[in-house]
Structures are given as C-alpha cells and as structure tokens.
Amino acid sequence: MLDNAKTVTDAKKRYSAGVMKYAQMGYWEPDYTPSDTDIIALFRITPQDGVDEIEAAAAVAGESSTATWTVVWTDRLTACDKYRAKAYRVDPVPNSPGEFFAYIAYDLDLFEPGSIANLTASIIGNVFGFKPLKALRLEDMRLPVAYVKTFQGPATGIVVERERLNAYGRPLLGATVKPKLGLSGRNYGRVVYEALKGGLDFTKDDENINSQPFMHWRDRFLYCMEAVNRASAATGEVKGTYLNITAGTMEEMYARAEFAKSLGSVIIMIDLVIGYTAIQSMAKWARDNDMILHLHRAGHSTYTRQRSHGVSFRVIAKWMRLAGVDHLHAGTVVGKLEGDPATTKGYYDIFREEYNPMALENGVFFDQDWASLNKMMPVASGGIHAGQMHQLLTYLGEDVVLQFGGGTIGHPHGIEAGATANRVALEAMVFARNAGRDIWNEGSDILRDAAQTCTPLKQALETWKDVTFDYASTDAPDFAPTPEVSA
C-alpha cells in the first residue's frame, strides 16, 4: 500500500503505467526549501468534497507544470525532478472553512524569459478548470530577480514621467471625458480643452472609445491635440490626453500610436483586454518612442473580484510592472469601485516600491525585489471629488494620478471650473500637509479656507458635500494586522 501523500521513490513503481496520486508522483514536497531563483505562486484552493487538500495542492502543482492525468514513461527522458513544480506548504485560510493556501515553487527553467504569455500559460492555464477543485485563486507570486531582469519594465516610470511633464511634489490630476460614448471629435476636444485649461494635467479616453461611427479615431486625435496645445499655451504647463489606441489588430494599434506620436502627444493608452503580448509589444514601442503608456484595466473584475476564484489584482499588478506599462488603475479606496484601504495599499506598494516586504495585512505574501525596474504610476479613478482630497492624499500619497471625471465635468459651473476646483483643493492640501497640518482631521477646514479665494471650489464642495461610497468590500485581506503577522 502506497502512502497517498508520499513521493514514490522506487522508479519501477513510480513509472508503472496507470493512474497515481499527484502527491505520490512528486508534486508534494513538504521539506522543499525554495531557491532564490524559483518562481513561487500562492494559490487559494477549495477542494471538492472528499478531496484531500495536500493532494489538491499537488494536483495544482502538477497540472501547472509537467503532469498529465496518468503516468507517462517519457518523463524518464527528462530531468523531471527539476521540472516538476513542488507544492511545499498548505495552510488553512483563517476563518474560511474548506479553503487552503497552497505554496508552489517552480524552477526558473520552466519559463521563457521576458514573456508574460508563457508565464501565465502555465500558472493560470489548464489548472483553473481542473475538476477536483471547486475553485482556485492565484493570490500572489514571488518573482525572482533573475526572472524580473528578463523584462523591460515600465517604458517611462514615475520619475521620468514627472521630469517630462515638469510636474513635481503633488499628485497629477486627470479626468475621463464624459459621456463616454457619442461625442463627435469636435465636441470631445472641447471637453479636453476646458478641463486642461482649468488645471488638469491629463484628460483620458474611456476604455471603450476606439473608432466608432460617431467619432473615428483620427478625428479624435486631431481635435484632442488642438485642445492639448491650446491649453498648454493658456497655462504654460505640459499637458496630455491619453489617446486610446486599442484596436482589433496590432497593425492598427501601431498605426494609431504612430499617428499620436506624429501629433506630439506625450501619452497613449491601451486596454487590458488587448492581451499580455499586445501589452508587452506596446510597452516596447512606448520605450522606443518616448511615450508614456497608460493601461486601463478593462475586464479585470471578471477574474479579480471574487475571493474564491480567479486571479488577485495584486498579481495582475506584478505582471503589468514586468510587462512595462507606466500607468495602471489601482483603486481609490473612497470612490465608487471595489477596494478596501489595506488591500489597496498592497497594490500601491507593488506599483511604486523598489522592494516589497511581506505584509499579510495588505495581502502581500512574499518579499519582492523589483531589481530597479521602473515604478508604475497608480491611477485612482471612479466616483471621487474635491471634498475627499485629504482622504485621497492620506490613503494614496503623492505619486498617483487622481482622476475626477464626473467630479470635473459635472461641476455646476462647467468643466473649467470643475478642473480648477480640483487643482486648488489638491494644491491646498499638499501645501497644508507640508506645512505640518493634520490633514486627516483638518481636511474639511483646509478645503473651506481654500474655497474663500476660489469660487469654483466653493461650488464643488456645496454640490458634492460628503458624497461617499461605503459598501462592504468583497476582497479584503485574510489576515488582520497582529504583532505576530506584521513582525
């Protein structure tokens, strides 16, 4: 009788034809210590009733690396011990019966250098449909320096983006043009002009603005660049508008990117739905053409939002930093879209830090060294307004793009007034913080004082007062900050 959770070491038994437990095949190695060059994945597994969690973890390791459902003799033509992924630790998830955290280590040679497509084909490939599991979620990954160094990383990075924009010491400001569909190119450019002249650094195409009957892409680009240049002259600032080059083919995206470049745009935009390889291609193009690359995470909530199944956004964030985008939406905490403060902090740290220490209270399971890869600028967008400026600055810090779409365009006295209200609120809050004020507690007073000399801000504060979106989060960390965990 074979022990179900023990690797069969007798080669004759191990490779005799037939079906064998994954743990017996060598995909469960509780004594394994991951090497510095291993890629480590942390999965949340929910085994089917009656399936042992060790065997489930071993099965995930097997199906995401070398295994198939039955023993194959051709394993013996390879250094199969090296290529087998190794589940080495399985812990119950706190307060979640039936769910387990499985740690799995993968040898570096399992992956092609510099390819997110190849990485994901293994890690989130077949295994997510595997029948013995009710649900599976990729929670986090540790990417070794040896692997990180095979990627370009963000085309521009936070520091050089600021140098190009000549904008330091404060969050950048943006707005998405609304309504998101239906405006003609000429009318669209009007919104861009008013918002930029009023004090925003950026305006933005929405994710589904590509080239539709009401506005073809060349029209949008031409009118937007007229607006950008007029606003730049009116303020003496560098301005930008994220021209969305998302299209049905790479050829078309390159053509749109080249046109944006020829018009002098500082930034272009793509949607997450174009796919990992297309994103990496555009990141390379952006590096070669001095272009800031904005990524709108369209579609991510289909797989990031539910706790039991899918891929955590923190993993998507890591992949996108490798893939090489400069901007990526990451949550607002206080706005209308998903994100509790602790989890969102974990995302922001992944975007902006050189080194992420393990922080279970923020959902960060591994130490991660970014090996001097550029930093990504997080974008906070969705249901935020000037009256929340103290909360936004406290939660999100300085290196972030705050995007007020409705909070700019919905201002009762127009788009320019809305933009000015946001910019004055922002500058007043940064000024007060630097001068030693307690902005968390005095934020409302600081805004009211700033509104004394700024009518648009006064009107904004009256319009939106203390609008906030306070719903329970569907994706909060599993670990509360306790001394044992955070030490």
């Binding site: 520091v159 600021r162 140098e163 000549n166 330091y168 010491g169 404060r170 004090g199 060349r218 031409l222 660049m225 007229e226 240049n229 007029r230 730049s232 002259a233 009116a234 303020t235 003496g236 600032e237 560098v238 020829s262 018009l263 002098g264 050189e354 001097s372 930093k375 000015t420 910019r423 004055v424 500058e427 007043a428 940064v430 000024f431 630097n434 001068a435 030693g436 700033a450 000399t453 700024c454």
Partner: protein, 139 residues
C-alpha cells in the same frame, strides 16, 4: 495669464513664511533645496539659471528665504522657483518645485500652427517674452 507651473501656482502667491515652511519640509525629508530663475518660462525650458548650487548641507529654511530675497534683488522682474532634489536611489531627481516670484506682467504664450497634409497640424508653443533678447524681457 498666470504661469501655472509648479506645485502651488493655483494658490495665492506665497509669503516668505510660506516659502520657509515648504522649504523646511523639503529639508526635513533630506532633500537639497535650490533657487533658480528665468526669463523664458516655456513649459519645456528645463534649465532655469541656477542661483548658486543646491544647498546640500543646510538645515535651516531661513537660509532658503534669504537666498530667494537675494535673487529677487537682482532678478525680481523674472520668474524664480524653489526646487528640492532627492538623491535617494531609484529617484535621484526633483521632488518639489514651486514658483516664488513672478514678473508684474505675464504675457503668456502663443500657439503657432503649421498646417501639413492630411489635416495634420504641427504645433509650437512660443513665449511672447522671448521675442526680446535675453536681459530685455519683462522690462
């Protein structure tokens, strides 16, 4: 027009006390504060003239205010800004930048359009002030 470059150009002009408070924040972060001036405020004019070197070992923002006022004596009719450099690995660039002096009259910029084929327009932004030679701008 009002030049909107820098962190605080949408706020009322800073007082010397304001400048001291902001400079002290920079110093307390370990950043070196510097004073620069220009008569060419084009948004892509990166290199304003340096009023001395960045003050690397200065612990007291009063010295920054002193230098700003010395600079004003000579260049009071121009733009003057205070910037802060962070030498930390992975940053090694500017962390703060704010305008502390402006010319009495700010003529602003004009957009120059060169119409090309296929509706393409090549844009240039030009400061009205730079039509005069250096030293004769802003009176």
């Amino acid at each position: 027009m009002r030049l909107r470059q820098g962190q605080f150009s949408f706020l009322p002009d800073l007082t010397d006390d304001d400048i001291r408070a902001q400079a002290q924040y920079a110093i307390d972060q370990g950043w070196a504060v510097s004073v620069e001036y220009t008569d060419d405020p084009h948004p892509r004019n990166t290199y304003w003239e340096m009023w001395g070197h960045p003050m690397f070992d200065n612990p007291d923002a009063a010295a920054v205010v002193f230098e700003v006022n010395e600079c004003r004596k000579e260049h009071g009719g121009k733009y003057i800004r205070v910037i802060a450099f962070d030498s930390t690995a992975g940053w090694e660039s500017i962390r703060m930048s704010f305008i502390v002096n402006r010319p009495a009259d700010e003529p602003g910029f004009r957009v120059v359009r060169q119409e090309g084929e296929g509706r393409i327009v090549r844009y240039t932004i030009e400061s009205y002030a730079v039509r005069e030679p250096e030293g004769r701008r802003y009176a």
